[in-house]
């Protein structure tokens, strides 16, 4: 499955997913997935931020309005944030994002928050694989075709 992620499937769906990775834990975890030569779907485009708390709902909505099929936000595990409590703030803001998505008629599953530490290369690969799989099942972001939103 992973080998054809960036290509269109039989229905012509080619998922596009933005991954916001916190610099200290998750970005290093993603790097470790690389040094371990794991399979990570090419559909994800990693964007480095210093902390998951920088990722406000506006950034997530921007990605979705511009046509992203999914947005993955990853940060340090609870208690391990490089900035003390940033990930808790990220988690709290997620409740808000959920509501916005629902009110726009988008599936809340298109946005996911996961914790990935610097030593969790396999977990990063797993999280991305799972998420892309879920996005495939959801199909394309309706905003891509229905511009009236």
């Amino acid at each position: 499955m992973t080998s054809s992620d960036a290509k269109a499937d039989s229905q012509g769906f080619r998922p596009r997913v933005v991954g916001f990775l916190c610099n200290w834990c998750s970005y290093a975890g993603a790097d470790l997935a690389g040094t371990s030569r794991l399979d990570v779907p090419a559909a994800i485009s990693p964007i480095r931020v210093m902390c998951s708390s920088r990722v406000d709902p506006v950034l997530i909505m921007t990605a979705l309005m511009r046509g992203a099929d999914g947005v993955l936000v990853t940060g340090c595990h609870p208690g391990d944030c490089h900035y003390d409590k940033g990930n808790y703030f990220a988690r709290r803001r997620f409740a808000l994002t959920d509501q916005i998505l629902t009110s726009l008629g988008l599936e809340p599953e298109r946005v996911r928050l996961s914790w990935v530490s610097a030593s969790e290369g396999p977990r990063y690969a797993e999280v991305v694989n799972e998420f892309i799989e879920e996005i495939r099942e959801l199909g394309p972001n309706p905003m891509r075709t229905n511009r009236s939103l």
Binding site: T2, S3, S4, D5, A6, K7, R16, V17, V18, Y27, A28, A30, D31, A33, G34, T35, R37, L38, D39, V40, A42, S45, P46, I47, R48, V49, M50, C51, S53, R54, V55, D56, P57, V58, L59, T62, A63, R66, G67, A68, D69, H82, Y83, D84, K85, G86, F89, R93, A125
Partner: protein, 563 residues
């Protein structure tokens, strides 16, 4: 001046070169706005690779640089240095990671190439919106804050203070010396604790480089190693308070421990049965001569009850067995012929000298009795101590004095201290070290160290060892005259958009933001801000921006990343 962006892709030997169609990437980006050069090189981080970059920057008069290579954790700084050497601001540069996060995780070359193009375009679009940022060097502040004026705090202060390094010693009570100043002889040397502490107080007070803040508490600590801003709040005689601002580079927390009070002691007759005293009360009686002195009492039989409150607090306090052994020796000297029982659950006799010391107490007449539970009751002509011996047998002692040896607990205010300093608490409520073995003195926050009982009950000698170790950590890292480079990628507030709602103050974990009521706007102290961007996401009026991670920059990256 028009932007002239150079795009460089590193083959990283076969690492990227074999998994990504480099020419396809170059073709895809060379026509992008402002791109004047798109080139490849075998190993960009090598000497020839860096020279290649420098030569092209010069001949093509590049203003911005994008490198597609390995993780920024590997070579971001390498290429930023190339920029600096070539006269480009190092922040007009973007490194995109096509090795760890593309070539190494994507088996299909076509897919890897397509993803590389996406990321390369995202980096190029992003770099067009980069702003030059300039580094600032901040001289380290070599001064040190020591919280707590007990033996640990004083030992740290005395070791640290010098003409190059002022020490601010903050003591909550009226006088220095802590718990030890009230002690008579202390184990294992039986030298007077009180005399030792008093001698230290004299040294501290006579030291020109130690500023003692009595009746004072630390109310604010913001900043980081080399640059802490502290507010010391002192109590004035008229009941008012005085706030003193102090700048330091590091802090030693030596807030000590307190003795458990309340129910566990009351259950054993403390406060209701005559002759039931705590070990601290016995210490005072021995010191002022009300036991053993001229006209003082001389108890004929005494029972020490160990581990009072141990079940409630959930840990062994480490120092009470030895303290009772010492007090037993003193009692046996003061009241010749007395019977002294020490009722213990588990003996804690650590260290080189302690075993011999305890044996000395036994030799002097102390009777060590292992027990599993103790009850104390008042009766005519004495106190009954009933205790079980563990094998079902019970024993009843008639004594005229019971000494309760209670657990040591964190001092009041420890929770607030932990929150203020961003230091964690262990489950028992003491301040937590970063690592019990590898970083025993570090508090998990750079530049904050823990000495003495602040991180758990400690003997006087262990406390001083820790104080010396803390001083060593400070002396070896906080060197006068050195500079630190504070984070450049910090947040800043646009005054014209700020509504003064102070939401950002609530979310900042570093206390870097202050509110200006005159202008009704908030300000970020760039020397304190760590650049997480939490406030940016929290600001409801979009007035805050994080340098190098602005909305515009991330927007450009997003747009290309999902094309």
């Amino acid at each position: 001046m028009a932007r002239r962006i150079g795009f460089f892709i590193c083959e990283c030997g076969p690492n990227i070169g074999e998994n990504v169609d480099i020419d396809a990437v170059l073709n895809a980006v060379e026509d992008m706005d402002d791109v004047v050069l798109a080139a490849r090189f075998g190993l960009m981080c090598s000497g020839p690779g860096k020279d290649f970059l420098k030569a092209n920057i010069k001949t093509e008069k590049l203003t911005h640089l994008v490198v597609a290579a390995c993780s920024p954790k590997q070579h971001e700084l390498t290429f930023m240095e190339v920029c600096e050497d070539s006269g480009i601001n190092p922040f007009l540069f973007q490194l995109t990671n096509i090795r760890e996060q593309v070539a190494w995780v994507t088996k299909d070359k076509e897919e890897a190439t397509e993803k590389t193009i996406r990321l390369a375009k995202a980096a190029i679009r992003r770099v067009r919106y980069h702003d030059p940022l300039s580094k600032t060097a901040l001289a380290v502040n070599a001064d040190v804050l020591v919280i707590g004026g007990g033996v640990a705090g004083m030992a740290a202060a005395l070791r640290l203070a010098s003409p190059e390094r002022r020490v601010h010693l903050v003591e909550r009570s009226s006088s220095l010396g802590g718990r030890v100043v009230a002690q008579g002889p202390i184990y294992p040397t039986m030298a007077s604790g009180g005399e030792m502490a008093t001698a230290m107080v004299d040294l501290v007070e006579g030291n020109d480089w130690i500023v003692v803040h009595r009746y004072s508490e630390v109310s604010v600590v913001v900043g980081f190693f080399g640059n802490f801003e502290v507010v010391v709040t002192g109590e004035l005689e008229d009941g008012g308070t005085l706030e003193t601002k102090v700048n330091v580079g590091a802090g030693v927390v030596a807030t000590g421990a307190e003795v458990l009070e309340g129910k566990p002691l009351e259950d054993l007759g403390h406060g209701s049965i005559d002759g039931v005293v705590s070990s601290a009360e016995l210490e005072a009686m021995l010191a002022d001569g009300s036991i053993g002195g001229k006209g003082g009492k001389a108890p004929k039989s005494v029972a020490f009850v160990q581990c009072v409150g141990r079940d409630e607090v959930g840990y062994c306090s480490e120092i009470c067995c030895m303290n009772s052994a010492k007090q037993a020796r003193l009692l046996l000297e003061a009241a010749k012929g007395a019977k002294v029982h020490i009722l213990y659950r588990d003996l804690c006799v650590p260290g080189r000298d302690q075993q011999a010391f305890l044996e000395g107490a036994v030799k002097a007449g102390a009777n060590l009795v292992r027990t599993t539970s103790v009850e104390v009751g008042g009766s005519k002509g004495g106190i009954t101590v009933s205790h079980s011996l563990g094998d079902g047998k019970a024993e009843k002692l008639m004594v005229d004095m019971v000494v309760l040896s209670p657990a040591m607990v964190p001092p009041t205010g420890t929770e607030g201290m932990a929150e203020m300093l961003n230091v964690e608490l262990d489950p028992s409520g003491f301040l937590l070290e970063a690592h019990a073995k590898l970083e025993p003195m570090a508090a998990g926050i750079d530049g904050i160290y823990l000495a003495g009982s602040a991180s758990g009950p400690r003997s006087v000698s262990d406390s001083i060892v820790q104080a010396e170790a803390c001083a060593g950590r400070v002396l070896s890292s906080l060197i006068p005259g050195r500079t630190i480079e504070p984070e450049i990628r910090v947040s800043h507030i646009l005054e014209t958009l700020c509504t003064g709602c102070q939401t950002c103050l609530e979310v900042c974990c570093y206390g870097a933001i202050v509110y200006d009521p005159m202008k009704n706007v908030s300000h970020i102290n760039a020397a304190i801000c760590r650049g997480c961007g939490n406030c940016v996401a929290a600001c409801p009026s979009n007035a805050i921006s994080l340098y190098h991670f602005t909305y515009k920059q991330l927007y450009q990256e997003i747009v290309e990343a999902i094309r």
